[in-house]
Amino acid sequence: MTTQLGHAPQNGLRRRWGYLVDNPVFTKEIRGRMRGSRAFAVLTFYLVVLGAFTGLMYLAVAESSMSVSGQSNVGEIGRTLFVSIVAIEMLLVAFIAPAFTAGAISGEREHQTFDLLRTTLLSPVALVLGKLTSSMLYVLLLLLAAVPLQSIAFFFGGVAETEVILSFVILICTALLFSTIGIYFSARSHRTLSASVLTYVTATFFTFGLPVMIGGILVLFGFSPNNIQSTTTQLALLYILGGVLSTNPAATALLTQYVLLNQQTIGTFTYTLSGGETITLISPWIPFSVIYLTLTAIVFALAVHRVRQIEN
């Protein structure tokens, strides 16, 4: 009959591990992406923009802090630089990651290669995972490339290593979720263009839309800590507000830094309400990571389900 090429059919567990470690889609994507000068041109452009922005921020901050006290508050300079870099990285991550993944599945259909993939033994999970990991690797490259710039902030002090690590965690979680959303829309849409639009709209909602909505609601109802009499309402409000803010990367980053500075913790801390009661709150990066990773898993499963269903 047919000649065997010396490969035994793999059992389920080994096969699944292979999706991560020896993923054909991952290899193909990386080979193609890093070919030629394109990948390095993007990296250079990104670093130039980041560097230029950092330079400008430095000049602005150094100028103002000098003029106030006659003596530069270096700690503040360091912190401001750090925050600016993270802010730019956040924007880039929110909008570069989808650019890579919005064409994941729809691109294959547009190039008429999707049917070829479907008749192989490649599973939908392996396909989606390969697309995700290859795009995340490039995002990781961009984030790591910015670390030297971030380290300039260390020269000025005011920034702890913990903040660097936490900012990384927040950025990676953001990139993961938005990349996965990109793949999901790519599986839904026939065209990469519509997938891109949908992904960007979603990313914008998470980064800008939600805070604006919350801010609007707060203003509308005239909330301020003084207006609230009952402890329960105050409690509910704090938790709900905290929860919602934990879905926003920028708010999470800022609040986490605030908590770190004022409460000296990256974990739980106590907070006294106006009635005198103390409650336990948690640094936002923890619920943020949990929410984003859970959403990533859910959207990943939805994307795989969608890919399975495609029948031209």
Binding site: G6, K28, H111
Partner: protein, 318 residues
């Protein structure tokens, strides 16, 4: 005749709303055959192939490839087939060897086996000298050959090829044909569709003629010829005595008709429709020459597949 069927369908139906693309199709492809699936454009060839390759689910009926149901065991079916659609999907920024490496990996071929496999495949389709070139830069003929190499990566039992020679120049078409014959010699079953009958006639052992989603005729090439062209046609060129010839022939058993044909350089020609066997044909010649009728040329017309095809299909396109 219990031949092992490597592809079979029973009452296969595929409906798209009101349109019936495949209508009660029963396909039988024996193992080791080179099966030509022919029909006019829009007859349902591609739809049938896409059902067999697990890309579409049928509306009704069953389809089995290598013993596995396409609906219940798609993974096993995919392991057994190599599919080549009638378009070449191009990846940007990919080398020829990387293309084969990628698909070999998709078929779970271990990394250590791949380099050797890629070399063998490239040698088989004669693309070794282009291994480091970009896939998108290849000529159409080379892309077809590369596509064919890809279908062989996991050593499947059956190759399902949709119009493998479409858009190719004559030389490239011959190259593909030779590759298909080579692969048949390697023990594989070849199931391919075409509307270039010359290609089909050259190499097929079996034929399936489809029109408007239905199978019109199916079987070995000889069977189909016999089925659709039951009478033999014998062309006779005479120097003279045409009326005597006709008179004589009409008395021979098995002659169903005699028609005049255009003259050939002043020599008269007639065509005899005959239902007898080879013995009978030689009797015809004897009957004429024994009466001294001057026969210059006596030959049986073997019908090319085109005529068979034209007779079988009514040219109805859905």
């Amino acid at each position: 005749m219990a031949e092992e069927l490597i592809i079979e369908t029973h009452g296969l139906v595929k409906r798209y709303g009101k349109l019936v693309a495949v209508n009660n199709l029963s396909l039988q492809v024996p193992r080791g055959a080179i099966y030509g699936f022919v029909g006019p454009n829009g007859a349902g060839k591609t739809t049938t192939m896409r059902i067999l390759t697990t890309l579409i689910t049928p509306t009704a009926g069953d389809a089995y490839v290598a013993g596995y149901s396409v609906v219940d065991y798609p993974r096993e079916v995919r392991r057994a087939i190599g599919y080549m659609p009638d378009f070449f999907g191009v990846y940007d920024d990919m080398k020829v060897w990387e293309y084969l490496d990628f698909f070999a990996a998709c078929y779970e071929i271990p990394e250590r086996d791949r380099p050797g496999l890629i070399n063998d495949l490239l040698a088989l389709v004669d693309l070794s000298h282009r291994r480091d070139d970009m896939v998108e830069k290849l000529s159409r003929g080379m892309k077809q050959r590369l596509s064919l190499a890809r279908t062989l990566a996991h050593d499947p039992e059956v190759l399902i090829l949709d119009e493998p020679a479409s858009g190719l120049d004559p030389r490239a078409r011959i190259e593909i044909r030779e590759l298909l014959v080579e692969m048949s010699r390697m023990g594989k079953t070849i199931f391919f569709s075409s509307h270039i009958l010359a290609d089909v006639a050259e190499i097929c052992t079996h034929l399936g003629i489809i029109e408007s989603g239905e199978m019109v005729a199916q079987g070995t090439v000889a069977d189909i010829r016999r089925q659709l062209m039951p009478t033999r046609e014998i062309q006779i060129t005479l120097l003279g005595q045409v009326e005597q010839a006709k008179e004589t022939l009409l008395h021979v058993e098995g002659v169903t008709g005699i028609n005049d044909m255009p003259d050939d350089h002043g020599r008269r020609r007639i065509r005899v429709d005959f239902t007898g066997d080879d013995e009978g044909v030689s009797q015809l010649l004897f009957a004429l020459s024994s009466r001294g009728i001057p026969v210059v040329n006596f030959a049986e017309e073997t019908h090319d597949l085109e005529t068979v095809f034209m007779r079988a299909t009514k040219g109805i396109v859905s």
